[in-house]
Amino acid sequence: MKQKTIGKVISQRELAPAIFDLWLETELARDVKPGQFVGVFPKDKSTLLPRPISICEVNEEKTALRIVYRIAGQGTKEFSGYQAGETVQLLGVLGNGFPVEEGLGKRVFLMGGGIGVPPMVQLAKVLSSKTGECGAATVIQSIMGYRDAQNFLKGELERYGEVFVATEDGSVGTKGNVMDAIRENALKADVIFACGPMPMLRAIKNYAEEQGIPAYISLEEHMACGVGACLGCVVKTKEVDHHSHVHNARICTDGPVFEAREVEI
């Protein structure tokens, strides 16, 4: 059940320049799937709309959730100043999340680019805690793309499997993007879970189609309501969508995660 509710800031720190790591105590943490997101409302009344931010992690007690976000405008700039004890309005839990069951017992790529890295933390945690049929282990390889040596969350992902890094400036790992890192390290997988900028997701869609493997990609778009009413955040789909019977799925409710073959990006 979606709701608008209060979150209480537990802690906040800057992970990398303009990248913030915020833990919030909230009842929304009770039932979260990896890849879902929350709407965070700025307090400044000139900024009205909830900011959609993916959930990076949920604590073990399911009483708090963590968001890792980049300052992208006025709202996120305000969030970056929040101190422990402050309250914030949240809308959630939103979106469908990653289909974890599709990865169990398989060789899985987790691919994140820039501010698309954070949701991979909770996904890695959940995937690694479960096995597939007949107890087959899930083998996780994370391939993360960053601009430079500010490789936030890399250490945390290493707890769940090997991590390969690509950097635009070549300062760490493969110089180039996540696809270059796959080629350079001759990596193979049965299924891909990804979140990142559109050019990266397009490349992953093409790669997955060539390899004949499924890729579950998390999309981003400007949103207003976050709950599927305003039709602001749509993506072109191969099949007719169930809501408007055109070829436009709602990213906020039908997504943000789509099987790459279903969407035309």
Binding site: M1, K2, Q3, K4, F41, K45, S46, T47, L48, L49, P50, L91, E221, H222, M223, A224, C225, G226, V227, G228, A229, C230, L231, G232, C233, V234, V235, H243, S244, H245, V246, H247, N248, T253
Partner: protein, 321 residues
């Protein structure tokens, strides 16, 4: 103070509970209260039914529906502006067939809440087709005719910015409609009262206003338009004074009942619209900010009526002096 009001106030002074009469009507359709939803911000109620009891609303005004499915505009379709937002959705909708099979039965479950369907089209015939289909469904109480969407190239606003075009489409739809028709007026005109008079002269049963105000935002970092359509319709609290002014002007100019909207965020805002001359009000963009806004506004109107010992909501309509 009338005798009735004196009795009422003495009762409440004695601490006895009394219920303000929140009922209102538009074109002969009676509503349990004046709180409705602005078309396009509330779908057909399914999404917000998770947050509010739809049976508490005066009416759900649906997203615009055309004769066939419309895909809408490219993205980005929405962006925030100071105290509001711009949208250029482009009236994405599933068309009247799906709407009749899925959305109407859903809304019929909420028998206390009236159904108002927003109708859009590219040609007069498109509108006629939808209006005739809706005529088959007695559960639809009222039709809101969208002649003011600023975000589609053909139809819609083309009928709402010229008085003669508005007159013609209103007169034509009146011939085909079984339900009363409410023309939704655009604020993007020089004189909105001229449009209101044209609709009234053509036989419209009611008016709703305002639709969004055309605006633009440029992303200076990317040097691109913030929304793909370049222009979009502005809504949100920042437009409220314009909407109040227009509701008041139109209320002075014509006798038709008015559904007022434009930036309503609180009960106080809603009461301003009623005092300016609206018979009912719609909550739009604020649903996105506060999904409980409709019911909170309803409760706030009721509290205001108790505070000022207003017996009937209809006593507030146009009561500004």
């Amino acid at each position: 103070m009338s005798l009735e009001n004196k009795i009422l106030s003495s009762q409440s002074d004695a601490g006895e509970a009394w219920m303000p009469d929140l009922r209102t009507s538009i074109a002969g359709v009676e509503f349990q209260n004046p709180v409705m939803t602005a078309s396009g911000t509330f779908g057909s109620g399914m999404e917000y039914g998770e947050f509010v009891d739809l049976n508490r609303l005066g009416a759900v005004v649906t997203k615009g529906v055309a004769n066939i499915p419309w895909p809408g505009n490219p993205t980005p379709r929405v962006t925030e502006v100071y105290g509001g937002m711009l949208n250029a959705i482009g009236l994405q909708n599933p068309g009247i067939d799906v709407f009749m099979e899925r959305d109407i039965p859903f809304l019929k479950q909420y028998d206390k809440t009236k159904i108002i369907v927003n109708v859009c089209g590219k040609s007069v015939q498109d509108y006629v087709d939808v209006v005739e289909r809706l005529g088959e469904e007695p559960a639809v109480a009222l039709l809101e005719i969208n002649v003011s969407c600023p975000n589609v190239k053909e139809g819609a606003i083309a009928f709402g910015q010229k008085a003669d075009a508005l007159y013609n489409i209103t007169a034509e739809l009146k011939k085909h409609a079984r339900q009363p028709i409410m023309m939704k007026l655009s604020p993007n005109v020089t004189d909105i009262t001229e449009m209101a008079r044209a609709a009234e002269a053509a036989g419209a049963d009611a008016l709703s206003l305002i639709n969004t105000i055309t605006g633009m935002k440029i992303d200076i970092h990317r040097r691109r338009f913030a929304i793909a359509n370049k222009t979009g319709g502005m809504s949100g609290p920042a437009i409220k004074p314009i909407a109040i002014r227009m509701v008041w002007q139109v209320a002075q100019a014509v006798k038709l009942p008015i559904l007022g909207m434009g930036g309503i965020a609180t009960a106080e805002d809603a009461i301003e619209f009623l005092l300016a001359g609206a018979s009912a009000i719609s909550v739009g963009a604020m649903n996105f900010v506060n999904p409980y806004a409709t019911v909170e506004i309803l409760e706030g109107i009721e509290a205001y009526m108790r505070q000022y010992k207003v017996e009937k909501l209809t006593d507030l309509i146009g009561a500004v002096r």
